[in-house]
Amino acid sequence: MKRKILINLIGILLAFLIGAIVMLIQGKDPILAYASLFEYSLGKKFVYTLNKSVPLVLTGLSATVAFASGPVNLGQPGQLLIGALFAVIGGLYLKLPPFLMIPALLLLAMIGGALWSGIAALCKHFFRMSEFITTLMLNMIADFLTLWAISYPLFEKDANHPQTPPIATAAWMPEWGNLSSSVLVMVIAFGIIWWVMNRTTAGYEWRISGQNSLFSRLGGVNVSKNYVLVMLLTGALAGLAGGLVLMAGPHRFIKDMGANYAWDGIMIAMVANSGVFLTLIFGLFFAVLQTGATGMQLTALVPRELIQVLQAVIVLIVVAGRGYFETLFARREARRKMKGLAK
């Protein structure tokens, strides 16, 4: 356990070092940049970091559950958008009191996401089309479909950009100070997913199927039923993320709303090695980076887009490092045993 933490930390430090080199080449001060990054996101803007972590953790959980259970669901960006689209339609046309409105919209968002991942699941189930490419293509289609929806049928009159009118105020996520209640929804979702994956038969079956599909089938697991279930669940999680982004943030569907979270969930799941708890940690960590990017730009004049580069480098180095160090440790262990045998 300790070794795992150490390996992750070494990877992150190496990635930061590479980021620092990029900054030095451009004549910026990396120490000031990193200091202002963490000061901003962990200090006065910590609440915003928590708010920001909601879509990251949820899409991360979606990818984690999928990867751990077998299906290569890369469709979080599209499922997020469709979820948000469903939520905005509900928010524009439903008239309910807040205590019903919010759950109803969250449910709609989850249905939207599950519908979109369901298309890919059905394609696989009936036609054996690899979900890995279908989800990617559905991402692009969702992109254009939502753009069309907010440019024509749901277009706000006289707006300059494609966007919908604001949803009913009853559907706005309540805020305590600046802390959005969407964080609470995220914590509940995390708890449920952790419980399902670690404490239920279904979660056990999923994880076993993810590790060895043939073994689980021989053991009596209904693999194809579980496949469809996992796809629907992970789609619903991504859809929920979309709904929450919309209901906590701009309260309307604006162009390019999902673009920022597009691939982050997949990156988080990869760097977390498809572990549910690590997904939460890395989701929060990525939120720290993304929120702190603003502080870094303000104080150290390092453009915030550098964080995108840093995130990708972290994924590459942490994952590669994990494999590399594990072989290194295993080799040392083997050598020690060999010595013991020689005696």
């Binding site: 451009q26 290569v72 394609c123 036609f127 054996r128 089309m129 690899s130 490419i133 279908t134 990617l136 293509m137 559905l138 991402n139 692009m140 289609i141 254009f144 479909l145 753009l147 069309w148 440019s151 024509y152 691939w263 997949i266 990156m267 990869m270 453009p303 887009e305 550098l306 995108q308 580069v309 840093l310 995130q311 990708a312 480098v313 994924v315 590459l316 994952v319 590669a320 494999g323 590399y324 072989t327």
Partner: protein, 292 residues
């Protein structure tokens, strides 16, 4: 008649980047690498092509820069997937995102006015140009379009008619067997990735110096993924890839043509839906073969 010629020309333009990247993917497919980094390599190529063309005011340097940029991407892939033995899928995704992040970061820092970018010229074939219809279809394309045609032939020859091609396919078929016969499979894999880098770089150069002038954020727009689908659909065959890319290109051109009747968002979806349909046809054929 004009419409048909327009459709065919549009098809060739849209098919070219997909075809080039898919040819690169074909080489790595035969080498047994699950290479999904074409998208990132293409995007990197597109950025560096615009950069080279802008700084040196020359499209030749632009193409060279594009190839170099994509080669750097390929080297990163090699470092992680071959040297550090990291999962190829994760390496590919990581590399695509690194490319997207890096080009977005750089394009915000370097201002490249579109008017000062030198595009790759179109080639007008003397004599042929005057022939009606045929001339209009075959002449006047971007240089890269003709290079792509050449690349199909070269890659086909390379894979199936040379010693290197035999080793390439052996590397994908049984890596250990190739290693024990005294040829380093890793060396073959590395070289296949480098070839893929060159082709994806060229595809990127065509995007930012051919189709349009100048680089925009994320301009590869899933073309690398479509090319991956093309590779999978025909199990890597270069000639098959050429056909399937032309079909994808045709649907893209058709989308533009349909713009008179449909909102542009729907016509933009056409290539992705076509990919799904192609996958569907492929899996149906596979199912029939499986049942027979």
């Amino acid at each position: 008649m004009k419409i048909i010629i327009g459709l065919i020309n549009g098809m060739l333009t849209s098919a070219t980047p997909i075809l080039l990247a898919a040819l690169g993917g074909s080489v790595t497919y035969y080498a047994g690498i699950f290479n999904i980094a074409m998208e990132g390599m293409m995007l990197g190529g597109a950025f560096f092509a615009a950069l080279g063309s802008y700084y040196f005011q020359s499209w030749v340097v632009g193409i060279l820069f594009a190839i170099l940029g994509a080669l750097v991407m390929a080297l990163i892939f090699i470092l992680f997937a071959v040297v550090l033995k990291m999962d190829e899928f994760i390496t590919g995704i990581g590399l695509n995102l690194l490319s997207l992040g890096l080009t977005t970061y750089l394009v915000r820092q370097i201002d490249m006015p579109v008017t000062e970018i030198v595009p790759i010229p179109r080639i007008h074939i003397p004599g042929l140009e005057q022939v009606p219809v045929v001339g209009e279809i075959l002449s006047g394309h971007n240089l890269v379009v003709y290079l792509t045609l050449l690349a199909v032939i070269i890659i086909h020859y390379l894979v199936f008619k040379t010693r290197y091609g035999l080793r390439l396919r052996a590397s994908g078929y049984n890596r250990t067997c190739l290693d024990t016969s005294g040829v380093s499979a890793n060396r073959i894999r590395v070289s296949s990735l480098l070839i893929c880098g060159v082709l994806c770089g060229l595809a990127g150069a065509f995007l930012s110096l051919g189709v349009v002038e100048g680089f925009t954020q994320g301009m590869s727009a899933g073309k690398g993924w479509i090319s991956l689908a093309a590779v999978i659909l025909v199990s890597g065959s270069p000639v098959g890839i050429a056909f399937i890319s032309l079909i994808f290109g045709f649907t893209d051109g058709l989308g533009l043509f349909l713009q008179q009747d449909l909102p542009p968002q729907f016509t933009a979806m056409v290539p992705y839906i076509a990919t799904l349909v192609a996958l569907f046809v492929y899996s149906m054929r596979l199912k029939k073969k499986f049942n027979a």
